[in-house]
């Protein structure tokens, strides 16, 4: 660059004459023009080499993933962990039945004391609000009390100390105490005033989301109670609160009595699984020990070599002997897997009998569960319990063959490792049991967020493009276009920052508005959700889609529009029946490129998506958008910095990177093909 600049300046023409126009300039037998040509060619190849290296490095790390992952899966099977997890699945399904029924039970028990509970909740909320609004005076008061206590202790010490009483010290301390007490009285008065003022404001009544309204009479009493409790002369509750608590308890007790049968069923349900759980935890310990032996075998040669190398390099004979001894201690022999797995095989029969009892018991108890419930939540959760019972039965049936046919040495193809990665439903790392690398939760998270972003961004971006290109006047055009391009320049980390500090909270507040409850997923409990990330990404996608759509609209030959207008069509008819359909493939390409941009976006989803590694629960329908999720880009950013180079986890993250790479290449390629075709027309 600097060469070319220098040469373009007029002052260097003299120099040029000497260099460029002298015939016969050669450099290793090449003419000057060739040298220049090779210089540029060399740089171009450097660029191309770098771009090839990208593919190579990603592929290198990722290619090693599958063999390693395969080895891990094999160890998982050989150690018997796979078997133990089958039992674990059955227990988990059982827990779900129990948990849903349990929630239903409590919903029923609590149903008559809702008002009391609401009052208690309101009182807690108001107290918390008041305390945080008057935090400074609180601290002052607390400090005063602490100081007073210290002074009194000093006084006691002084009195108890042997020998003559130090009169001056005594009088000083007494004076101090009097002063402190006086100060506490003033602080308390001040606090009381502050609390009264604060209690009058609406801020104190910010109960957060989902609070059930309470009567105005109760409200006044809550105020009273808070005013009382804000001054902990005694640690007691206000009589009204004590009363409410007792009433709530009494009502719950009454209800629980009525539902005693339900409770018994629940208790029986819980204890039914206990023998199975004991078996599970016993086997788990055994399998974990086996796994440790298998793992330690893998590192054994390296460890022995390291000790030997250490011994080689040291000069100290004692140290050398120690290291050699340590090298000798390393066990390299493969563990006897059949022996290790013997307890597991012998437990198959025990498991079968236990499972039979459990299944019979669950079937019976499931029937004993009440059919209907008084509350909405009760009905919903009983239904859930019913659903989970179905799943429990299916799991048991499916696992029966798996458990019977399970062999620790059954062969495992390399494709199984690929399948476990691409279709795996769990991404569990740094586990004490086994690390699972399943792409599905991350992929669905990324995909869902991108789809939401597109659904929101496309209408706005396309209509803005149509408006600017076809309808806006000159002034608007010169202002809107750069403004939207400006949005594209906002760094994503800034948007993420905005999402976490401002937008998340705003969105949650909005979701709690009474008249927006028809939107699925509202009200939202979380700040960091799929919706939050999706909306921010939509904002990021707008400039890309807008600019490219506008280009596409621009490329529509003017003759088409003129013809249409000449035929008597209105402006909008021309736009929507002639121009947009002609540009449609360009618009599709724009949307695809927008998609490519947001699925690869990292910082926004890392900060805002909520980082929950679970396939979103689609049973909630569109409400799924209120859940948190994790993404492919997010997981790389979150975990890459913290794993060992070359470990399985590290490679799994590179593999995720490769998937992202492939997706974005595919999307870009398709978009460019569409654009190319468009240009040919």
């Amino acid at each position: 660059m600097s060469d070319s600049n220098a040469d373009t300046q007029k002052g260097s023409s003299d120099f040029e004459k000497r260099i460029f126009q002298r015939k016969g300039f050669t450099f290793f037998g090449l003419g000057l023009q060739d040298v220049i040509r090779y210089f540029f060619g060399g740089n171009a190849s450097l660029a191309i080499i770098i771009l090839i290296l990208i593919c190579f490095f990603l592929a290198k790390e990722a290619a090693m993933f599958f063999p390693d992952h395969h080895r891990g899966l094999k160890a998982y099977r050989s150690a018997g962990q796979e078997f133990v997890d089958y039992i674990g699945q059955e227990i988990e399904q059982h827990t779900r039945i129990y948990s849903s029924a349990n929630i239903a039970y409590f919903a029923e028990v609590n149903r008559t004391s809702l008002e009391e509970d609401a009052i208690l909740r309101a009182q807690r909320a108001v107290l918390a609000n008041v305390e945080s609004l008057t935090a400074r005076s609180w601290k002052e008061l607390e400090r005063g009390l602490d100081n007073l206590e210290d002074a009194q202790e000093d006084l006691d010490d002084l009195k108890e100390s042997e020998g003559a009483l130090d009169a001056s010290a005594l009088s000083k301390l007494t004076k101090d105490i009097a002063q402190l007490e006086a100060k506490i009285v003033t602080v308390r008065a001040k606090l009381k005033k502050e609390v009264t003022v604060v209690l009058g404001s609406e801020k104190a009544w910010d109960l957060g989301g989902g609070g059930i309204g309470i009567s105005s009479g109760a409200r006044a009493k809550v105020l009273d109670a808070v005013l009382f409790e804000a001054f902990p002369d005694s640690k007691e509750d206000h009589p009204f609160i004590v009363e409410t608590k007792a009433a709530s308890r009494a009502k719950k007790g009454l209800e629980a009595e009525k539902l005693a049968g339900f409770k018994d069923t629940l208790k029986a349900l819980q204890s039914a699984v206990r023998p199975m759980k004991d078996l599970h935890s016993d086997l788990k310990k055994i399998a974990l020990e086996s796994r440790k032996e298998i793992n330690s075998l893998e590192t054994a040669p390296a460890r022995r070599d390291a000790w030997l190398a250490g011994a080689e390099s040291t000069d100290d004979p004692a140290e050398k002997a120690r290291m050699l001894a340590r090298a000798g201690e390393v066990v390299i022999a493969a563990p006897d897997l059949s022996a290790l797995n013997a307890p597991i095989y012998s437990s198959v029969d025990e498991h079968r009998t236990l499972l039979a009892t459990l299944q019979a018991e669950v079937e019976r108890l499931h029937k004993d569960l009440p059919d209907g419930a008084e509350t909405e939540s009760g009905r919903k959760n009983l239904k859930k319990a019913d659903h989970y019972y179905g799943e429990f039965v299916t799991t048991v049936r499916e696992n029966r063959d798996k458990i019977q046919g399970w062999r620790h040495d059954k062969s495992l193809g390399l494709m199984a490792s690929v399948g476990a990665f691409l279709m795996g439903k769990d991404w569990v790392t740094n586990s004490s049991w086994h690390d699972f690398y399943g792409l599905l939760p991350l992929f669905t998270g990324s995909f869902l967020i991108s789809i939401i972003a597109l659904v929101v961004a496309v209408p706005f971006a396309v209509s803005a493009a149509v408006y600017v290109n076809q309808l806006a006047n000159r002034r608007e055009q010169t202002f809107i276009k750069p403004a939207i391009e400006f949005i594209g320049a906002i760094p994503s980390v800034v948007l993420g920052f905005f999402g976490i500090l401002v937008f998340g909270e705003t969105l949650r507040m909005v979701s709690q508005l009474e008249y927006l409850q028809w939107i699925p997923g509202f009200p939202m409990a979380e700040r960091l959700t799929i919706l939050n990330a999706g909306l921010l990404l939509a904002f990021m996608a707008v400039p890309t889609i807008f600019t490219l759509t506008e280009d596409a609209l621009n490329n529509v030959p003017r003759a088409l529009a003129e013809n249409s207008l000449a035929m008597g069509a209105t402006k909008l008819q021309t736009v929507f029946r002639v121009i947009v359909p002609t540009a449609i493939s360009g618009i599709i390409a724009a949307v695809l490129l927008g998609f490519g941009r947001i699925i690869g976006e990292t910082m926004v989803v890392l900060l805002v998506a909520g980082n929950k590694i679970k396939i979103p629960d689609f049973t909630e329908g569109l409400g799924v958008i209120a859940q948190p999720a994790h993404t492919m880009t997010g997981i790389i950013a979150q975990e890459l910095g913290e794993v060992d180079n070359g470990s399985l986890h590290w490679r799994a993250l590179f593999m995720v990177g490769v998937i992202l790479f492939v997706i974005s290449l595919g999307v870009n390629f398709t978009a460019q093909q569409i654009l190319k075709k468009l240009q040919k027309i």
């Binding site: 706005f460 600017v468 320049a489 950013a637």
Partner: protein, 397 residues
Amino acid sequence: MQSVAEDTFVEEEANPFATKAIGLKRRDQIVSILLRLGTYFILSCAAYIFLDIIVKGAPVVFQAEAPFINTDFFTQSPETLMTFETASGDEYKMNFSEYTEFKTRNPAIDIVDEHSHAYSGGGIFGPLIGTVLLTGICIVIALFVGLTTAIFLNEYSSKGKFMDLIRLAIMNLAGVPSIVYGLFGLGLFCLVAPVVTDVPAPRAILTVPLLFTDSVLSFEGWGTCMLAGGCTLAVMILPVIIAACEESLKAIPMGFREASMALGATKWQSISKSVLPYAFPGMLTASILGITRVAGETAPIMFTAALAHKDKLPWQDIPTDAEANALSQSAEWVGGFFSQSVQAMPYHIYTVAARIPQSEYTKPMQYGSVFVFMVVVLIFAALSIYLRAHFRKKVQW
């Protein structure tokens, strides 16, 4: 929006252009109002974000009395902020460095209710410098390689399938997510790139002895450092720069080159005198656009260069061997300079957004950083948008 519009015409399927009913006109109006609303909604969202950041961030950066700018915020690096009260009820808020000084000056003071807020004190000098360095390294490398590649592709290379393939690859790589470049940068620059050293690290994958010296070329990587980060960013931006530069070269009419060649100029003379000067504006715009994008990127530097806390500025205390000669000392200094991690604005913002809570004490740092960062990035963005519009208007042939 579209569906609304299409519904409008369904009823008129028989002959859509036939009638000029008043209803149709009104529909036209309604649809165009909707389109306009959509457009302005986008702009108002942007305005909301900008205003939020400006309203909360500007007071941190500007102040009422001369010099009107909070110089401390620009000249100090991030620090822990201490807040405390004294027994007499006075409140204090100061950076940790001042705090220790304060305590030594007033040994008798009775401090109560003391809180520390990580990353919330000081200023953003360190991260700003880091970002400037990273962007600088990146742009120098990316422009050099990108420009020469573009010149080669457009001026020297013969047309053919192979070149088309390369262009296609470059176009496609421009859309690869930045985090993937981060992975690549970590894999190549931090862990494999060659270093000249006497003592190769055990993790080196290959060592090549250099003739006539004691040193070896060890492929052990540069570690997490400024140079690795700059190179990663350069690789990320390279496809964009190549594409943009080639575009601006392509825009120069063939006649310019032909005329020059016809007058007897050599190939290089015609490129340097008749093509590059006219392509310069386009390339300038491309490089400024590159700066805008690179300065805002976080993902590629997360693992390759950035650091949350660093109490020295990059040029301070670089170790050199005092006994060596001046040349090798300065080489060592340059090496040491580029091989250290730096703080960077985007990573700093990530840290203050994710790692520290929001309170009245942390907000100034949070919003101040974002405000400054936004202003800097957007000035570059505005510059590139302006330049493009300006040159487009001016240069016509």
